[in-house]
């Protein structure tokens, strides 16, 4: 099945499989993700979408029993040959439940750049402000940067986490169901934010919300779980095509809610 896209590929995956010890969680995934676009990954529970997402910044390495086959490349460079710390700077992640550190808002954002060696207070202030502005949170918190990050509302916390990820100047931002823990208004704000971000970053977002994928992405990947519970890529394409006229019957069924 041809899964080529137009445009430049930021991330390229070739025959990628992932195993938890003996259990195969992902099977032979091959796909190219375009730069400066929002790619949505959809599929039923257990089909491996989050696992796949976490492969891009090697967060799966944290689990001892994981081993992989095939390769993933960032800008044509194999991510296993790059130092994982550097990889994670270039490929940032925002998690499903907002997880700000138990520090002040300022410290939450300054933590990353500090860890990467930025010491100058002026520069740090600049970074904090820029990141908060990009995450559309600056106006709401600019007078209370010393407030604890945990004192913000759920939607604000998630935007704080996005600002935190932006502060280390990544190239790719991975988002694992970023709005699933939020109320509808906060969700829409995050979607708008993601649209703004795509100008500078490549974004990959896992979502179980079909309408969100349809609203907020340019390119969509549909994963399904095979009978042996391994996840595989069923179809990929422009979001509009996938949602108005998908090629695979399985995709059609899933999108119309007539699965199982």
């Amino acid at each position: 099945m041809e899964n080529k896209t137009n445009g430049i590929s930021k991330l390229s995956v070739e025959d990628y499989s992932l195993y938890y010890a003996d259990f195969q969680a992902l099977r032979d995934v091959t796909i190219e993700l375009p730069a400066n676009k929002i790619t949505a990954i959809i599929g039923p529970s257990g089909c491996g979408k989050s696992t796949f997402l976490r492969s891009f910044n090697r967060m799966n390495d944290l689990i001892p029993s994981v081993h992989t086959e095939g390769k993933i490349e960032l800008d044509a460079e194999n991510i296993h040959n790059v130092d994982v710390v550097e990889l994670r700077k270039r490929v940032g992640m925002v998690f499903q439940r907002p997880n700000p550190f138990p520090k002040s808002i300022y410290e939450n954002i300054a933590f990353g750049p500090r860890a990467h060696g930025v010491r100058d207070k002026q520069i740090l202030n600049q970074i904090v402000q820029t990141s908060l502005k990009q995450a559309v949170l600056w106006d709401e918190v600019k007078d209370s940067l010393n407030k604890s990050g945990l004192a913000l509302s759920g939607g604000q916390q998630q935007r704080l986490c996005i600002a935190r990820a932006l502060a280390v100047e990544p190239e790719v931002i991975l988002m694992d169901e970023p709005a699933s823990a939020l109320d509808p208004v906060a969700t829409l704000k995050i979607e708008d934010l993601i649209q703004q971000l795509k100008e500078k970053y490549t974004i990959v977002i896992v979502t179980h919300n079909m309408q969100q994928a349809a609203r907020a992405s340019d390119f969509t990947l549909f994963f399904n779980m095979a009978e042996d519970r391994a996840g595989y890529l069923v179809e990929s394409g422009n979001t509009i095509d996938i949602f108005t006229n998908p090629k695979e019957k399985l995709t059609e069924q899933y999108i119309s809610g007539r699965f199982g």
Binding site: F243, T244, N245, P246, I255, S256
Partner: protein, 229 residues
């Protein structure tokens, strides 16, 4: 089977469209009979019954909008529902054609101008037949059936040309009949447009199945606008 309620509601709307279609078919055939027998009473009541067609079209539209809002249809469901919106619109316009034929019957009144009634009857018969099959193909998503219909429009067009010629001849030979003759022209024009619109319905059928919009058949009528009053 998930989304049972949704599937059932789509089926209900399909049934309503078939119902609307048969209302339009009936109105069209009746309008020609009324025209032939110059039955003024019947013509007037036919014109009033057009309201029922309009109402049903709005009811269908409303039901589809509600499904859009509450069920967020995608892919095939989305194409089908939006096609149904358009088809109900087509049917309503076709109902207006029937109304137009009846109005022109009233305008012609007791005029004794020669009427190419055979051709008119034939055009209506062909058109209604095409509509019936087009709607059947539409609700059953039957591509083979839908693909055959556009070609039959040629027959209707031929009949139109013939009738047009004869009416123009009447106008030329008897200039005082131009007024009445022009009403006749509108009637045959309505019936020709009626057949054209059935082709639109076939195009929508193709759209639902393949996701592509394509023009089917060849439209060669000189009149681009609709004369239906």
């Amino acid at each position: 089977m998930t989304r049972e309620i949704f599937t059932r509601k789509i089926q209900q709307i399909k049934d309503e469209i078939l119902l609307l279609g048969s209302m339009v078919e009936q109105a069209t055939l009746d309008s020609v009979i009324v025209f032939k027998h110059k039955d003024m009473e019947a013509a007037r009541s036919l014109i009033q019954e057009d309201q029922a067609i309009n109402d049903k079209r709005f009811a269908i539209e409303n039901a589809i909008m509600i499904l859009f809002a509450t069920q967020q249809p995608l892919a095939h469901d989305l194409r089908m529902l939006s096609a149904m919106l358009l088809v109900s619109n087509e049917l309503e316009r076709m109902g207006d054609y029937a109304k137009g034929v009846a109005s022109n019957a009233i305008r012609l009144g007791a005029s004794d101008i020669p009427i190419p009634i055979r051709d008119i009857e034939k055009m209506a018969e062909l058109g209604v037949n095409m509509l019936h099959r087009a709607l059947s193909a539409f609700v059953n998503e039957n591509m083979e059936l839908a693909a055959k219909i556009p070609d039959e429009d040629d027959l209707v067009d031929d009949l139109f040309n013939k009738a047009y010629r004869s009416i123009v001849n009447v106008m030329v030979s008897n200039p005082s009949s131009i007024d009445d003759a022009s009403y006749l022209l509108w009637v045959v024009h309505n019936l020709e447009r009626f057949a054209d619109r059935t082709i639109n319905i076939c195009e929508r059928t193709l759209f639902i199945i393949s996701g592509e919009m394509m023009e089917m058949g060849v439209s060669d009528d000189e009149f681009e606008d609709d004369f239906d009053e």
